[in-house]
Symmetry: C2
Subunit: 85 residues, 2 copies
């Protein structure tokens, strides 16, 4: 078993309202960043897992996202990277 | 002016307590993922900004992180990517 560090991005699904992103964009514009057009706020999760190889580390993190980490109604997730830790 | 999409990772600073990450790791282990050793939960922010070039887009997003998006006491940020949108 090797230790892998798997990074995941969980982002609000495109086309759904993203009130947090809108609030951040409005705050940035009023703080002196007029060039901000849009902001999306998601989560960046790094999981350190023991697995036999990188493929099974990725597969188990996908299962974690489906089961706990992401809300399947409102969010999408993508595996951003798998590295031996 | 071109529209750039700048992705940022904001993560809890190493060495500080990360109660959210610890709670997620405990929940995953009790949900049937015994291989989970550690979890860190940060934010993944995508900002779409108007800028003259990629370097100035990145620079303005760094300023946004320092001013609003990241907590300089407890968090670190890194620019994950700059792409023309």
């Amino acid at each position: 078993m090797t230790r892998y560090r798997v990074a995941v991005h969980i982002v609000p699904r495109r086309g759904l309202l993203d009130p947090q992103g809108k609030a951040v964009a409005d705050a940035l514009r009023s703080l002196g960043f007029p060039g901000v057009e849009d902001v999306h706020v998601g989560r960046h999760i790094v999981a350190e897992v023991q697995a036999a190889d990188a493929a099974s580390a990725e597969q188990s993190v996908r299962a974690m996202c489906a089961k706990l980490l992401a809300n399947p109604v409102t969010e999408d997730f993508e595996i951003a990277g798998v590295n031996a830790a």
